[in-house]
Symmetry: C2
Subunit: 477 residues, 2 copies
């Protein structure tokens, strides 16, 4: 396992050194990770990467080499560097289960730990969870557009480096893809891999037909042919049909064709027609050129006969929205008497004011199992679910809603308690199933690709009062 | 070092297995890596990531675990898997020096190797070089906008995973940034790191002034204060000035302030005015909120008094153009008599037709050392630079240009010869200097941020004839 302990911003370490010098480094604090806008302009965000964050925490340690490097920066006292030698995470971390659907401003992960520990882990947490959540959400959108067709993740060569291709493939599977082309991801995460041949295979043989025949010879039961190396309709398709007929005579079932360029709508229809004419009615037509959820929606609307989608660059980079802006903010500090002091950061932009205090999130489901709203509450609050529950908008407080028949679920689960890992790893394919169930709890209006409805995230009355009071008290700073 | 041998698309391995079964895997072939459009809508692209590609090649090997995994896929013959056990790269690779400026359709890297070797390495090559070249190019644009101001790379938390943050920081330095916040990148690549304090530092203390004082106390000579936690003009700035005065009395020189929100133009001017009034005229005003080359250009045009730029998300993801579409195409194959057979891939889109043959690239400089044009030539061609040189546009052939006073440089250098590494690693800061010199050879019209002029990339007459003949011969396929 890689040592990512130095995968952090330098200011975390200058602050740690400062806390240490001021002897406040052991103060227990609470930090929340949350995002202010959903990934990919979606109506929701799939939280992903929790497994890799847990690995990171389990593996945190400053090696001799790390400490030597830090010393070379001439920023830190020797006492502090000695102190770092025994660094170990000893706090509590609560988080939603990997694959959970979350919404803006809700804590998706909360750390309660000594200040120096909670501060150090900020950057790696954000790097890991922001990216995988982004790609899982993007993948869920692409799969939504593809309806029930299989979607394959093909983006490795355009990914933002090896990790992005590999953890991106993991996240894409969790978001709903059916397989990846990335072999390393297949091995590391036990997820299905797919792949047949590239243009170079076709070019290497004297003729396209020779290339197709050679492929069919070696992979008679997995024969999917790339038909656009020279000319789809005049060369690729007729050659493929010849080879498919041979295969059929020998008792094999051809898999299909792949289109990687040209007008996919026109070509897919033409190809379907010719293939049907020859009796190849139950065959895959895979397309794979610059696709995303919008291109797939348009192709489907135009009647393209593509039934399998290879999605590369635009999925693995979430190209139209290539980052999720998850942040990590101080929400509370415990004083010497173990009393909690909530913390707030003001901002001219009201949306940037954080929710103070040590908190949790409760989801409210209706009698049909659909999610109706989330409520952010203080950690020690509870809901009496035998009574009706009224929630209200935190800014437009006259907007309220009362639930009569409802169930609630607390979303945070312990990842670490007193530094002991409580997380149980799950296979990626199992998290993928969980995501499917999560998405089923959402009304369609939250899944719409453009201009989705905004899901309700309200504050408990107690939290709302705390926040309002704190803002008022700092008003004239 | 990580084993990235399986960092490849599955189709590379299904093809390898196919080549092996057809006994053509040892045929020597030539592949080119090139891109069709510059990174970030620029007039140029900085090639970056060569060092990591060399590490990858030097480390290629299929471990027992890798082979066990591949066997589990039930796609490959046992003979083939045994063959992979001894996989070793034995071919030639030529590439431009890391940091070289390149243009569309030029081979930036050419592999001449047995087919199975040349094919396997495609995906990792593209993943590594596409991403770093993208970020180096983006960084050069941001630095161009910042003119002579220092630019700091602050993007780790929004990077597409740990590698993207770390290799992205490397590439950003090569592209011209002055330092990064990423400590791991600092350690791995020996590049300067920067960082002071976050909002959480300010919030942890009872008052902002306490927080500033504590920081100044620990870092009296590196005191840069974040002034926007509560309110810049009513709180952050006056408190910073108090602390700066104290520091000055004690003989220290305050570093400056950082603005991370709000209207940066307005706030920077207001802050400058107040700081100047107190005699702090030579002080850094750093801004760091959602910046890129366009925002910096606008702020400078509006007279913002920012003189140091922290650039995060939009640099580390190249957010408006988050991938470079580098490709890797078969260009030639050697037959049993060691004669070269050029290869071409046709396409309905003329821009997608590759340049066939084993090639090299020559750059033409004028008498003032400015780059005037590049010429793609066959590998064994040469230019008699004692005579005038005429080049012509490959499509609009009537557009030609003759150089009288010129010098030429061949851009490809050997990375590997017969599998032996010829590459000499260079420190990142040295590559950064090389990039500066490279950029100085470009006329300003190629560096313009929007709608840059198109740099001339022509084909030698011999290559042009070869290509034209090959296209004609396949016209009616």
């Amino acid at each position: 396992m890689r040592n990512l302990t130095l995968l952090t911003d330098l200011y975390q370490l200058t602050m740690l050194n400062g806390y240490f010098e001021k002897n406040i480094h052991e103060d227990v604090v609470v930090f929340d990770m949350f995002f202010r806008k959903n990934a990919c302009n979606s109506g929701y965000t799939i939280v992903c990467g929790i497994e890799q964050f847990v690995e990171y925490i389990n593996n945190i340690h400053f090696s001799e080499e790390d400490l030597k490097y830090l010393k070379s920066l001439n920023l830190f006292s020797d006492n502090f560097l000695t102190f770092l030698k025994d660094f170990k995470f000893t706090g509590d971390i609560y988080a939603v289960e990997e694959g959970t659907i979350m919404f803006p401003n809700e804590p998706i992960l909360t750390v309660k730990a000594p200040l120096y520990q909670a501060q150090l882990i900020e950057t790696a947490l954000l790097t890991i969870v922001n990216f995988q959540s982004l790609i899982a959400t993007k993948a869920s959108r692409v799969c939504f557009a593809a309806q029930d067709d299989p979607v394959f993740e093909f983006g490795l060569r355009r990914a933002q480096g090896p990790d992005a291709g590999t953890y991106g493939a993991r996240a894409a599977m969790i978001g709903g893809c059916n397989a990846t082309a990335n072999v390393l991801a297949g091995k590391l995460f036990d997820i299905p891999v797919v792949g047949t041949q590239a243009h170079s295979w076709i070019q290497k043989f004297d003729t396209e037909l020779d290339a197709f025949k050679a492929y069919a010879d070696i992979y008679p039961d997995k024969c999917l042919l790339l038909v656009d190396t020279y000319n789809v309709l005049n060369s690729g398709l007729p050659n493929a049909i010849k080879v498919f007929k041979d295969l059929r005579e020998k008792g094999h079932k051809p898999m299909g064709i792949r289109l990687d360029s040209g007008d996919l709508q026109y070509l897919s229809k033409k190809c379907s027609k010719e293939l049907n004419k020859e009796g190849f009615t139950d065959i895959s037509i895979t397309a794979s050129n610059d696709l995303d959820e919008y291109a797939i929606t348009a192709l489907k609307a135009e009647g393209a006969t593509i039934n399998s989608w290879g999605v590369g660059t635009k999925l693995i980079t979430s190209s139209d929205s290539p980052s999720l802006g998850g942040v990590y903010k101080l929400a509370a500090s415990f004083n010497d008497n173990d009393e909690i002091e909530p913390k707030i950061k003001l901002s001219e932009d009201p949306e940037k004011i954080n929710n103070p205090g040590y908190k949790k999130v409760v989801r409210i489901y209706n009698e049909y199992g659909k999610s109706e709203a989330d409520l952010i509450m203080l950690h020690d609050e509870s809901i009496d679910d035998s009574k009706p529950l009224t929630i209200f908008h935190p800014l437009y407080t006259w907007k309220s809603k009362t639930f009569e028949k409802y169930t609630i679920k607390e979303l945070h689960k312990p990842l670490f308690i007193n530094g002991v890992c409580k997380h149980k790893s799950k296979p990626v394919m199992q998290i993928r199933e969980y995501v499917k169930n999560e998405l089923d709890t959402l009304w369609d209006e939250y899944r719409r690709l453009s201009n989705p409805q905004t899901y309700k995230v309200d504050l408990s009355h107690e939290l709302w009062s705390l926040k309002t009071t704190m803002i008022d008290s700092k008003k004239f700073l």
